[in-house]
């Protein structure tokens, strides 16, 4: 069966996924057998204490980390079958990521930062689309500003524009408000949800904020590398 996004099956499928990472103290078992299925168009929040494996799970789904065992399938792609460049192309075509630390390129201004994913996808009028995306996050007046010249909230909005500009199927957001004050954080989250709704993308949001977690349609609680709870929010 094909969904609205042209993908057979779920947007995200994790099947008995384990992740072990080597550290100086020895091998650490981060994820201990995760089974998860997220349908296209769902909004899912991931909560849990620090070190529970939230970010690692997101990295696996974004193709930024490789599982030790199990199966990771995203947007119909078995990520284990892709090499580094294949993973890069997979992200280019399917994923938008928002980090807590923004991760903008300091040598590029706001518009250039936002245009990159579109340019990489080989789509024409990249700058028009970047301008529009920045307009949708309220930064029409900051197009030529460099990251160093923008406030934290503005930088996160640029990152948000960059995440949605290529109209990805899946948006991954890792504590996007973690470095922002309360009201700035709220406005960024409002933007995130409205933009997602505009594009009909699937959203996976990592957060420590219970109220924010409840805004998603589904909540997953990760405890020590295992899913402790998986429920539909009220």
């Amino acid at each position: 069966m094909k969904d609205d996004n042209g993908i057979r099956g779920p947007m995200v499928l994790l099947n008995d996924v384990e992740l072990k990472l080597d550290s100086e103290a020895g091998s650490v078992n981060i994820l201990k057998g995760i089974n998860l299925e997220i349908a296209a168009g769902e909004t899912v929040s991931v909560v849990g204490p620090s070190g529970s494996g939230k970010t690692s799970m997101m990295m696996l789904i974004g193709g930024l980390e490789r599982q030790t065992s199990g199966k990771v399938e995203v947007a119909g792609h078995d990520l284990a079958s892709l090499d580094e460049d294949g993973l890069a192309r997979f992200r280019r075509d399917n994923i938008g990521i928002v980090f807590q630390n923004f991760h903008l390129i300091p040598t590029m201004n706001a518009m250039e930062n936002v245009a990159i994913p579109v340019e990489l996808a080989g789509i024409d009028n990249a700058f028009d689309r970047a301008r529009a995306a920045l307009g949708s996050v309220g930064l029409d007046q900051r197009l030529t500003h460099y990251p160093g010249q923008l406030s934290g909230g503005e930088q996160q909005r640029v990152a948000l524009a960059r995440a949605i500009v290529a109209q990805p199927r899946l948006i991954l957001a890792d504590e996007p408000t973690g470095n922002l004050d309360g009201s700035t954080g709220e406005s960024v989250i409002d933007l995130l949800f409205s933009l997602r709704a505009d594009h009909g993308a699937t959203l996976m949001l990592i957060t420590h904020n219970p109220a924010l977690a409840e805004r998603c349609g589904r909540l997953i609680d990760l405890q020590d590398g295992l899913i402790g709870a998986d429920r539909v929010t009220a």
């Binding site: 580094e84 994913p117 340019e119």
Partner: protein, 839 residues
């Protein structure tokens, strides 16, 4: 200062991480200067300590074309042992085959050598070496002569009319450097001076030099002996040398080579200085939290400046010490090489003076390039330190620090000029370096500006590459400066070498005559011309009378070196070729005054080379007195000629009007052009009919010069290589400093979907552009410098060599690309996750 020292000491516990390029830059420059100075000192020490051996005596008198009188000889013998040595140049012909060779003859008496020992194979006592047995005189020669003549020890040869038997080959000739002309055209041949009469080579006007070596009964009384000599023979025509300056030619060569190599070492140090500045800036960037914290808790700018200057200078001391160690030990490390390359024994040891000089250069460079960034970091308010961490090091510090930097750079320039053997050359170097640094500084700014203007040109890759060239804190300026300076040296040296090489191997042989024939006697001229022109393949012959003389007076005043410009002094040092002519010889060009008429019979007029006139400070209407064969001949300067020495024609500084010289004893010099295939036939014909005439094959001379230039070129390329290595070090430092940021950019791009190939393409563009533009600017500056040297100093026609420049461009692009790629490729293969986690 106690507090600053205490802070510095605590901070230094962090170790030398981040200072590796700083240490390497200083160590390399200091090592180059210290090594050059130490090697020169050890060679000069050898020259001075062995002065008497190298000169062949405590003192030596030289007479040109004329022997000393019996009275003079008797006076010399009163307080010293005397050895008479006669130098000639002639043709040796093997007996038993038809092989010939030009030989540098050194004809000695029984007292030779006064100092040192002549070593031969087989070892033979001096008394038996040169005695006459039957019809043949004993002789020894360089092995090269035996090879050329196809004879062995015991073989026989003929020079002029004298027959010689080779009794051994020369292993070591203690006084080889003395009396030698700068250019040796043939192998050494030694025999008894008593045999010269048999040879019939010495005729009036023949080119022959008489040396009287003196071993004083009381060597310590050298000065008073020289005073006595001058007082007793005030008008003597000899030139006197003593053991304190045994070989002015070698001394000058060492001085010039040392100067050149020191200046190249200084270039390396200047290039390294850019690296020093970068390293200090990067070091302070890592210390910004500490500096801010110190300021927040009440430390003054002065205190912080002191603390960080101490740290930087402690590191500088370590770098300089490494350099001194390497440089100081260089003579010992290169002892074998020096022994083979030099005609004297270098005194291997540690010489403090060059080490002090290298230290001074190192300290001044370290200070000049680090005060600025330290002052900038300390000047800014504490709050500003927490933000905009790149921009804070830009701009000008407070005036005392800016002034101190300018003063230190000026001190570097003054030290370079004041300690140089030739001030004008050092001043040109300092001026040229300043101009080149300014040009590269401007080029760096222009490249960054152009990158900014290009803005969104092209795709993501090009845009990112351009952005990396102009963003704040980009190393564009320092890379262009450091790599550019090194490349400029390389391009200049390569182009000068290419031009010299072309002159000697291509241009000259086409235009130059095949042979020079010298010592043609007056009564042989007609027969000589008939013989030569009768040989098949003969094309053209030019002949001119040849005398030798030395300048004694200018405008009636005794000619003294100290009264004329440095560039003209060489003309006073010995004899110069003199000729006379009725009409202006073909190909000569008058640049001032007029040539005398063919029938001129009035008072002596003289035609002077325009360069010589400028060097001597004389012009049209002035008088010049030349001592020819013991007689002073004064002429009024009638015209000046443009003489191009590079043409290998019969060029003379002095040409007199006919009259007095017409009837003086003289020989003739002739040049002969012939079909290359028939040249040997002409040589054979001349050798058979005129045994006294010396044949110089131009090809052989060019070979000799080429060999010498090849060895010199190797040393020069080595020196230029040091400057390039310094540039690469700075480049590596700049690239390493930006590595973390570059990996981060690459990872973010990867997250956004860029493939490794695409990211590497961006790097290729960034570093390729930087290397290419730097190489092009360096090529332009290097070409201008080479053009100036070739046309103005060497007076050759300059021709551009695309290969030399292309090599520099390829090196620059390859080096920048290699360093740019290094590390990034590996980083790109790794997982992105660790760099992106929210730590």
């Amino acid at each position: 200062m106690i507090n600053a020292w205490r802070i510095a000491r605590r901070e230094l516990r962090g170790g030398v991480r981040g200072f590796r390029v700083f240490l390497a830059c200083l160590a390399l420059g200091v090592a180059a200067i210290a090594a050059v100075g130490s090697i020169a000192s050890s060679v000069i020490a050898g020259l001075e300590e062995d002065g008497a051996i190298l000169l062949g005596g405590d003192a030596a008198l030289r007479m040109t074309h004329r022997d000393i009188s019996a009275d003079e000889r008797a006076w010399l013998g009163r307080s010293a042992d005397v050895s008479r040595v006669v130098y000639l140049r002639s043709m040796a012909r093997a007996i038993g085959n038809d092989k010939r060779s030009l030989v540098e003859m050194k004809m000695v008496d029984g007292a030779y050598p006064l100092y040192g020992a002549l070593e031969t194979t087989p070892p033979i006592a001096a008394a038996d070496l040169f005695t006459r047995r039957g019809d043949a005189w004993g002789a020894v020669a360089d092995t090269a002569l035996l090879r050329r003549l196809g004879i062995e020890i015991g073989g026989r040869l003929k020079i002029g009319d004298a027959i010689y038997e080779i009794r051994g080959t020369i292993d070591r000739e203690p006084d080889r450097v003395s009396g030698a002309r700068a250019l040796q055209l043939g192998p050494r041949f030694m025999a008894s001076a008593a045999s010269v009469a048999d040879s019939g080579l010495v005729q009036p006007g023949s080119q022959v030099w008489y040396f009287y070596r003196i071993r004083l009964n009381e060597p310590a009384a050298l000065d008073s002996w020289k005073t006595d000599l001058d007082d007793t023979f005030p008008d003597a025509q000899w030139s006197v040398q003593d053991r304190s300056n045994a070989s002015p030619i070698i001394k000058r060569f060492i001085d010039r080579t040392t100067l050149f190599m020191t200046l190249v070492g200084l270039t390396a140090l200047l290039v390294g200085g850019v690296g020093v500045g970068n390293a200090v800036r990067d070091f302070l960037a890592g210390k910004i939290q500490t500096i801010a914290t110190l300021k927040c808790i009440g430390a003054s700018s002065g205190l912080i400046f002191g603390a960080y200057l101490i740290q930087v200078m402690v590191m500088a001391a370590a770098g300089i010490a490494i350099g001194l160690l390497i440089g100081g030990l260089a003579p010992a490390a290169l002892a074998d090489l020096l022994r083979d390359a030099l005609p004297l024994v270098a005194r291997i040891g540690i010489y403090t003076q060059p080490l002090i000089l290298a230290t001074a250069f190192g300290v001044l460079t370290a200070l000049a390039f680090s005060i600025w960034p330290i002052a900038r970091a300390c000047d800014l308010p504490a709050a500003a330190l927490f933000r905009d961490s790149i921009a804070r090091f830009r701009g000008v510090p407070r005036w005392p620090f800016a002034a101190a930097t300018v003063l230190l750079l000026a001190a570097l320039a003054v030290l370079a000029v004041e300690t140089a053997f030739s001030r004008p050359i050092a001043m040109w170097f300092v001026g040229g370096s300043a101009a080149a640094m300014a040009l590269f500084g401007i080029a760096g700014i222009l490249i960054a500006r152009a990158a900014k203007l290009a803005g969104r040109a092209g795709g993501t890759g090009l845009r990112l590459a351009l952005a990396n060239l102009h963003r704040q804190g980009a190393p564009t300026g320092s890379v262009v400066m450091s790599l550019g300076l090194g490349l400029t040296v390389l391009v200049t040296v390569a182009l000068i070498e290419a031009n010299l090489g072309r002159q000697i191997t291509k241009s000259l042989p086409q235009r130059a005559p095949g042979y020079f024939f010298i010592d043609i006697q007056n009564d042989q001229v007609a027969a000589f011309e008939k013989t030569v022109s009768g040989v098949d393949g003969f094309r053209e012959m030019r002949r001119t009378p040849m005398l030798r003389g030395r300048i004694t007076r200018l405008n009636g005043e005794t000619a003294k070196a100290e009264n004329i410009a440095e560039r003209g002094r060489w003309m006073l040092r010995g004899d110069r070729g003199v000729t006379w002519a009725r009409g202006l010889p073909e190909g000569e060009k008058i640049v001032a005054g007029t040539w005398w008429s063919d029938s001129y019979t009035g008072p002596q007029l003289v035609s002077l080379s325009a360069n010589a006139a400028a060097g001597l400070g004389v012009g049209i209407g002035d008088t010049i007195t030349v001592n020819i064969l013991g007689r002073n001949i004064t002429g009024k300067i009638a015209n000046l000629r443009d003489v191009r020495w590079g043409t290998l024609r019969m060029n003379f500084i002095f040409m007199f009007s006919p009259g007095l010289l017409e009837n003086a004893p003289q020989t003739h010099l002739a040049t002969v052009h012939a079909d290359p295939a028939r040249e040997a036939a002409i040589e054979t014909a001349v050798a058979a009919a005129f045994p006294n005439v010396t044949t110089i094959r131009v090809y052989d001379v060019l070979e000799t010069v080429n060999g010498f230039l090849g060895r010199l070129g190797l040393a020069i390329r080595l020196a230029a290589g040091i400057a390039i290595v310094a540039g690469i070090l700075v480049l590596a430092g700049a690239v390493a400093a930006g590595h973390r940021r570059r990996v981060y950019d690459s990872v973010v791009l990867k997250v956004l979907g860029a493939t490794r190939r695409r990211i590497m393409g961006t790097l290729l563009l960034e570093y390729g552009l930087l290397g290419l533009v730097t190489a092009l600017v360096a090529s332009v500056i290097g070409t201008i410098a080479a053009w100036a040297v070739v046309t103005e100093v060497m007076r050759f026609q300059f021709s551009f060599d695309p290969l030399a420049v292309a090599t520099a461009v390829v090196i620059a692009v390859a080096v920048t690309l290699a360093l740019g790629f290094y590390g990034t490729w590996r980083a790109l293969g790794q997982k992105a996750a660790p760099l992106l986690r929210n730590e």
